[in-house]
């Protein structure tokens, strides 16, 4: 019975991991940029959701569109102003340092604006455990999982079906060819970053109802994104979902079988092994053309 409980807990946790990593995965896949400020974007989402909830009493899940909107604008500007400049003037790896610098700035700003204090959001539906036979589930975490799945599904639809999605994928595979077809590649990169930041923000809003958070947590969410992407495969919502769920179950399973102190060690050990055995991740690279 404990085994089923552990798997259920792991899947619920995995949804959050998946959503928090999908944006990171997208810009890595499309632009080849490693965004070390990804976790900071997630934290901004969490703080925005907290602010809306705290001052207006709006449920964080309902505030997600607003949070996504704000972060999309931020992401677009961030890419067009800083990242593109760094990539043009120097290299992709140098752009990584830029994102590291921005992460420091954002973290410091969050401390200054929201104080270093612990924050947490308590939605109205929290506190009533859902009992299914011998399995006990947290309704807040279930809501978080559901919201994550809906958002990941929506992103998959956007990338597959919409015009913007097609252009993003085309640019990722063959930037030159896309340009020749009249695509403004810089604008598309900006949009990709906007989408990535928006989903990071949404993940932040959701994690706010699940976990207490404080500004230094940004490093944790950047690291988690790395692991999820390597596990699942780069660039696709499906890859992030698989990576996230595997990571979640692995995490609770390790905690149960080996000891509560070891999920992080296990997570990174699997990261290394996975890289050695199958560097393209369980689902492969969604934009194989670009590698």
């Amino acid at each position: 019975m404990l085994a089923i409980q552990t798997i259920a807990d792991g899947l619920v946790l995995g949804g959050l991991y998946a959503l928090s990593a999908v944006g990171f995965s997208l810009i890595f896949g499309v632009m080849g940029v490693v965004n070390l400020s990804h976790g900071a974007l997630v934290m901004i989402g969490a703080y925005l959701a907290w602010f809306v909830w705290h001052s207006l009493g709006v449920d964080p899940l309902l505030a997600i569109p607003v949070v996504m909107g704000v972060l999309a604008v931020f992401g677009y500007v961030y890419q067009r102003v800083l990242i593109q400049l760094a990539v043009d003037r120097s290299s992709h790896v140098a752009s990584m340092l830029v994102t590291f610098g921005v992460a420091l700035m954002l973290r410091n700003t969050l401390v200054l604006v929201f104080s270093p204090d612990l924050r947490s959001i308590t939605p109205s539906y929290s506190g009533h455990p859902l009992v299914l036979g011998s399995i006990v589930l947290d309704p807040v975490r279930l809501a978080a999982l559901a919201a994550s799945l809906v958002l990941l599904g929506a992103l998959a639809m956007i990338l597959q079906r919409s015009k913007m999605g097609r252009v993003i994928r085309a640019t990722a595979q063959q930037e030159l060819a896309a340009r020749l077809c009249g695509v403004n590649a810089h604008h598309i990169y900006g949009l990709t970053f906007a989408v990535s930041a928006a989903f990071a923000g949404a993940a932040g809003a959701i994690l706010g109802i699940v976990l207490p958070f404080s500004p230094p947590d940004e490093g944790l969410w950047t690291l988690n994104a790395f692991v999820v992407v390597v596990l699942g495969g780069v660039g696709s919502p499906a890859g992030a979902l698989v990576g996230g769920l595997v990571l979640g179950v692995m995490s609770t399973g390790t905690s149960q079988l080996i000891g509560a102190a070891f999920p992080n060690a296990m997570m990174f050990a699997v990261l290394v092994l996975m890289l050695l055995v199958r560097p393209s991740g369980l689902l492969g690279n969604a934009f194989a053309g670009s590698r």
Binding site: L2, S115, P129, S251, G259
Partner: protein
């Protein structure tokens, strides 16, 4: 050899590089006592760091508004010169050295033994006292340092009074489990829990170690539901404690007694849990209603009132402790009738005074005396933190066994 190097240092005083070092010396002319040291304001311990920092600042502001302090016939103003160590030990040691070079004589401490110990090695060598309200792990106090004083009793002694309290509960607590974080402080604190409970004859069911950061405690809670202890003692960080409590509520994991060392003292913690917070036990060192006298602030309540006039940030015991660090220094200087670091150190070693925070008395090794500076047992009652033991500091009656989460009012 040493003398020649000192001479060289003096000769190099004119070199541009060493110029900033002279500034400290010229400031002495205005009769100012400067307190140096670091606080973590951007790393993991930032929340507590800000509280202690506000405590220091409150005391310095209050005493300067009083017109300063008179020591051996001379009036002094106080000055605070703190830097952010960002929880990075190499940054902390480099910058503490700068203050030593600047001629700062008195130090306030940071958090975490990996910061406190390397910095204390430097202040110790320079023979400058350090009074801190942040480092409590045992290693800090077994190095034989003479100039380092900590307000909190070493971690292994912090649970003695709580274990004695638990022993008095009826019906008797049959067993307990403990959760701790794998860092020096929490781990020694957990050892303290095990020793103290053993001494009271209460057997342990299980112990669980957490890594430094966790995002989920569901599997530990599942294990606890499968093998439920009567008392659950959490020696984890405040962030982990809140996560644990949230997940316990959400999964209906109930124990008769939930003790969380850090967390329930904070307003944000209690607000998050709402009425479910009622009944959680915690460790506290201070309450603004405590009947304590203070030479400068008057009483604990007067200190609290002054703080609230100047800050909107909620009071926490670390604020009071921070302010008391400064007061303790001043009392020691008055007793020594001097601001010579070595004499102040001797006065600190023998100090026995009352402040708005608590009576202050250090052990031979420099940590807080476990009897007079040890923690009280607190419990959240009606959404507010109350002291439930010992009898002389008690502000409310305790509830035991605590009702299940869903039935709390």
């Amino acid at each position: 050899m040493t003398i020649s190097r000192r001479t060289m240092v003096k000769m190099a005083g004119g070199v541009a590089l060493a110029a900033p070092a002279i500034r400290g010396a010229s400031a002495q002319a205005t009769k100012t006592i400067t307190f140096g040291g670091s606080v973590p304001l951007s790393g993991g311990g930032a929340e507590t760091g800000l509280n202690v920092n506000n405590g220091y600042a409150t005391a310095v502001k209050f005493i300067n508004e009083m017109g300063g302090v008179e020591i051996a016939g001379t009036k002094y103003k106080l000055e605070l010169k703190l830097f952010d160590d960002a929880s990075d030990p190499s940054r902390a040691v480099t910058l503490i050295q700068r203050q030593i070079d600047d001629g700062v004589d008195f130090y306030l401490g940071s958090f975490g033994s990996n910061i406190v110990l390397p910095t204390a090695a430097i202040t110790e060598r320079a023979e400058k006292p350090m009074v801190q309200a942040g480092g409590g792990s045992d290693q800090i106090f077994v190095q034989g340092y003479k100039y380092m004083f900590g307000f909190f009793p070493r971690a292994t002694r912090q649970f003695l009074s709580t274990a004695a309290f638990i022993k008095t509960l009826a019906p008797p607590v049959q067993n307990y489990s403990v959760i701790y974080t794998n860092d020096a402080f929490s781990k020694t604190a957990a050892t303290g829990v095990m020793n103290a409970m053993k001494a009271q004859g209460i057997p342990m069911l299980d112990s669980y170690a957490f890594p430094e950061t966790i995002t989920d405690a569901s599997s530990v809670l599942a294990a606890i539901r499968a093998k439920t202890p009567e008392a659950l003692i959490c020696m984890t960080h405040d962030q982990d404690n809140l996560l644990l409590a949230k997940q316990m509520i959400a999964t209906g994991t109930n124990v008769n007694l939930l003790f969380q060392g850090l967390g329930p003292q904070l307003g944000s913690f209690r607000d998050t849990l709402g009425k479910a917070a009622n009944g959680i036990y915690f460790q506290t060192y201070w309450d603004e209603r405590a009947p304590l006298k203070d030479r400068f602030f008057g009483t604990s309540a007067a200190f609290a009132a002054y703080y609230k006039k100047n800050y909107t940030r909620p009071l926490a015991y670390h604020v009071s402790a921070g302010a008391a660090c400064i007061v303790t220094y001043l009392e020691a200087m008055m007793a020594a009738k001097s601001i010579d670091p070595a004499k102040v150190r001797d006065a600190l070693a023998n100090i026995d005074i009352e402040t708005q925070y608590s009576r202050i008395k250090f052990t031979e090794q420099g940590d807080g005396d476990p009897v007079v500076m040890g923690p009280w047992v607190g419990q959240v009652v009606g959404g507010a933190p109350e002291v439930v033991s010992p009898a002389n500091a008690k502000t409310a009656a305790y509830t035991y066994p605590t009702p299940p989460w869903a039935q709390r009012t």
